[in-house]
Amino acid sequence: MRPSAEPPTAPDLYDLAVIGAGCAGLSGAVTASELGLSVALLDASPQIGGQFFRHPAPATGAARPEALHHDWSLFTGLRRRLEASAVDLLGGHHVWSVVREGGLWAVHAVTGADGGEERAVRVRARAVLLATGAYERQLPFPGWTLPGVVGAGGAQAMLKSGLVLPGRRVVVAGSGPLLLAVAASLAAAGARVPAVIEASGYLGYARHPYALAANPHKLTEAAVHGGALLRHRVRLRTRTAVTEVHGTDRVEAVTVSRLDRDWRLVPGSGRRIACDALAVGHGLAPQIDLATTLGCATRTTPDRTTALVLDTSQETSVRDLWAAGEPGGVGGARLADVEGELAGLAIAARLRGHPARRGRVRELERRRDRMRAFADAMAAAHAPGTGWPQWLADDTEVCRCEEVTTQSVRAAVTDLGARDARTVKLFTRAGMGWCQGRMCGAAVTCLAAQHGSAEALAEPAPERRPFAVPVPLRALGSLDDPAPAPQTVTTD
């Protein structure tokens, strides 16, 4: 490995640029490198491991980072292979765009100190592997903006990297298998977790017995979390939701209500639980901005997130652009590892012309398909019900960056002629702020569709975000001329 915060001194042309140094990216990068490709591995963080294997910076002197992780050996194995490889690791590189330039890919990133010292970096490559992971989906509810309400995934990330607890008595709420892991981590780190509030019924899994039976690893994982929760006397309450947060300056209690199958409130079922923090999330959504800007085909997952359409070799609908891990649908670290390796093998086969190792490929494909089936079953079980907007009060903020309320979003649809999230954004500014709709996009899309006219609405197109991260104007203005310049951008 050639670790470096600096761009490589060699010409900036690689066989493969891998974006994201989590499980999928590490696996893809080392596989391709071991097969003789020149590889650049870019990540926004100075550390490898991504979200799942997030761990404290060496300076904190944490003795056993693995204590909060299962599958830690998966990570250490990949780390060892990376250290032994010739991969150029470009940490601290925030990739903002991938564009086609003269038959090659140009990966544009900014790097350097925050606040003025940032530089524009361009890495060119013959193939790109997107391993950009996922982000947590949030649905708004009254009180979700109060200090003390944190993302469930965020709470776990805080634990993993800095060993900080969001509170002493933390309710974990939302939907998805992540909630159990978060509750177990919080409890193990010393927090009291009065309840895990899950909007779905876990019975949904029973509808997919084959997917469950084929993934014994996942059952073990559930048993481990279940055991930990039992040990810490954490109650899992299914078909319930936090529908109100109480407190003036920060969280003092939450109201938990029962839900019907469509996530509508059961009247009169509200019950207060005292707590000083709420960790909430509604599953993970694929991080695919770089790909949708390039026009990659997408699909709607069973839990109604948007993921990339991939072929059996992990290639997107755009040639020479591959993806592995969560961008193809959220499925966890082991699936990401398998998909990364599959992509690495396929890219090497394409670029080097030597045949892929059929036996290994077939074995990996089998494992991938099995884990994908399980991920789809879980996603189906945790799909948001259509009734959740009923939790919202008129003055509940949907977009926190621009402080846009439920009422304004509904008025944009009923009074002004918006029919989709994009037009709601134009009329209300919902989604125009710092997060660019990553936080409110799911909610706004749903509200726009529910209140739109009676005619059937087409599946909403994925949001185009040409800047995957904010870019300082000076860095943008200092990009060198692409070479060779495409016809349409010559000056005369």
Binding site: S97, V99, R100, A106, H108, G115, G116, T293, G295, E402, D415, L416, G417, A418, R419, D420, R422, T423, L426, F427, R429, M432, G433, W434, Q436, S453, E455, L457, R464, R465, P466, F467, P470, V471, P472, L473, R474, L476, G477, S478, L479, D481, P482, A485, T488, V489, T490, T491, D492
Partner: protein, 385 residues
């Protein structure tokens, strides 16, 4: 009130031009059905900055149109709710050297004799108007009549202001023009098979106006001219006017297909600074052009060095509808009785929308036109023979 399927006028397109046509027709007492395949402001209106500019127009038919429209916008600012964010902020065109300043002086003199208010700003007074402007500029011109609206909200509120007389049919694409035995327009048919009837159909389909014209068997060579806009993080007001370098005027009038950029920089009520807009003819291609963005960013930072550390949060592309002579098509189509055009405004559609709507309404109801519309005649591109 229009019935479910018949009205006095059908307007195709719910962008700002279509909305203005519907609004003025409704104000004249007509019932209007507005049909759009998407939402309100789903096309170029939603991608525009909302420039209401006189400063970039040379004396001629388009400037006359813009002057009349600027008056109407001032009136609309009182009639429509404040959410349209009308702001008569004024424009400031700057020159970097003496040669540019001399050219600007000649250009401004011509505009002044056409009725535009202009004021020369010497180099040492530029910072009174724009404190963060770069040092060392040669001077500039202030155009107090330049203004701004939030285009999507302007379109939505124009439609709402028409009240019961305007009926919206969104998400319905027009697939056929219905005509009578004499070839006269009778209405339209939409993708779902619905027939809508009216004796007048207005083509306000913007960049897609050529397709609507073709449905009627008429040729109107509307083509897209792509532009990228950069949007920064929200800031306290660091840019007060619409500020741009003198090269912009030459780019607007240019016939070149190649990429041209001269950044127009402006602050907005909501906080972000908008930097627009590049111009290039590449069809309906949304592919990100990092070269266009690089130039916009570099030029904006050259004008306002303070923007260097400011972050661009997003960028988007839009497609200006342009016609070969850079003038819109407004008025009756001589080839198809009952068909009127109101499209091809290139980058000036938001500014020119009210006057376009007024002209269309007058063409339908009869009466005094606000100006000579011969230069905008839709039939002017027909093969001479």
């Amino acid at each position: 009130m229009p019935t479910r399927t018949s009205s006095d006028v059908i307007v195709i397109g719910a962008g700002v031009v279509g909305a203005a046509c519907a609004y003025y027709a409704a104000r004249a007492g007509l019932t209007v059905t507005v049909v759009d395949r998407g939402p309100v402001a789903g096309g170029t209106t939603g991608a525009g900055e909302g420039n209401l500019l006189l400063s970039d127009k040379e004396p001629g038919p388009e400037l006359s149109l813009a002057l009349a429209s600027a008056e109407l916008w001032r009136e609309l600012a009182h009639l429509l709710p404040p959410q349209i964010e009308y702001e008569p902020k004024g424009g400031l065109v700057v020159a970097s050297g003496e040669a540019g300043m001399a050219a600007l002086r000649g250009f401004a003199a011509g505009q002044e004799s056409a009725g535009v208010r202009v004021k020369e700003v010497p180099a040492d007074r530029l910072h009174d108007l724009e404190p963060h402007l770069a040092p060392g500029l040669a001077g500039g011109y202030h155009y107090p009549q330049d203004a701004q609206v939030m285009p999507a909200l302007a379109a939505a509120h124009l439609l709402r202001a028409g009240g019961d007389r305007i009926r919206l049919r969104l998400g319905e694409e027009v697939t056929e023009l219905l005509t009578g035995e004499g070839g006269e327009v009778r209405g339209v048919r939409t993708a779902s098979g619905t027939r809508l009837h009216a004796p007048y159909v207005v083509n306000a389909a913007g960049t897609w106006g050529g397709r609507i014209a073709r449905l009627a068997g008429a040729e109107l060579p509307v083509l897209p001219r792509r532009g990228f806009v950069l949007v920064t993080e929200p800031l306290p007001r660091v840019v007060r006017h619409k500020v741009y370098a003198a090269d912009y005027v030459a780019d607007v009038a240019s016939d070149s297909a190649a990429l041209q950029t001269s950044a127009v920089v402006e602050g907005t009520a909501a906080g972000p600074v908008l930097i627009g807009a590049s111009r290039e003819r590449v069809g309906f291609d949304r592919t990100l052009s990092t070269e266009a963005l690089r130039r916009l960013a570099a030029q904006a930072v050259a004008l306002f060095p303070v923007l260097g550390t400011v972050r661009a949060l997003r960028t988007y592309a839009g497609f200006r509808p342009y016609l070969p002579d850079h003038l819109p098509a407004i008025g009756p189509d001589p080839r198809v009785p009952g068909l009127l055009h109101a499209c091809g405004h290139e980058g000036a559609g938001v500014g020119l929308a009210p006057v376009t709507g007024l002209i269309v309404a007058v063409c339908v109801t009869g009466g005094q036109l606000p100006l000579d519309i011969a230069p905008f005649a839709p039939g002017r591109f027909a093969a001479k023979g």
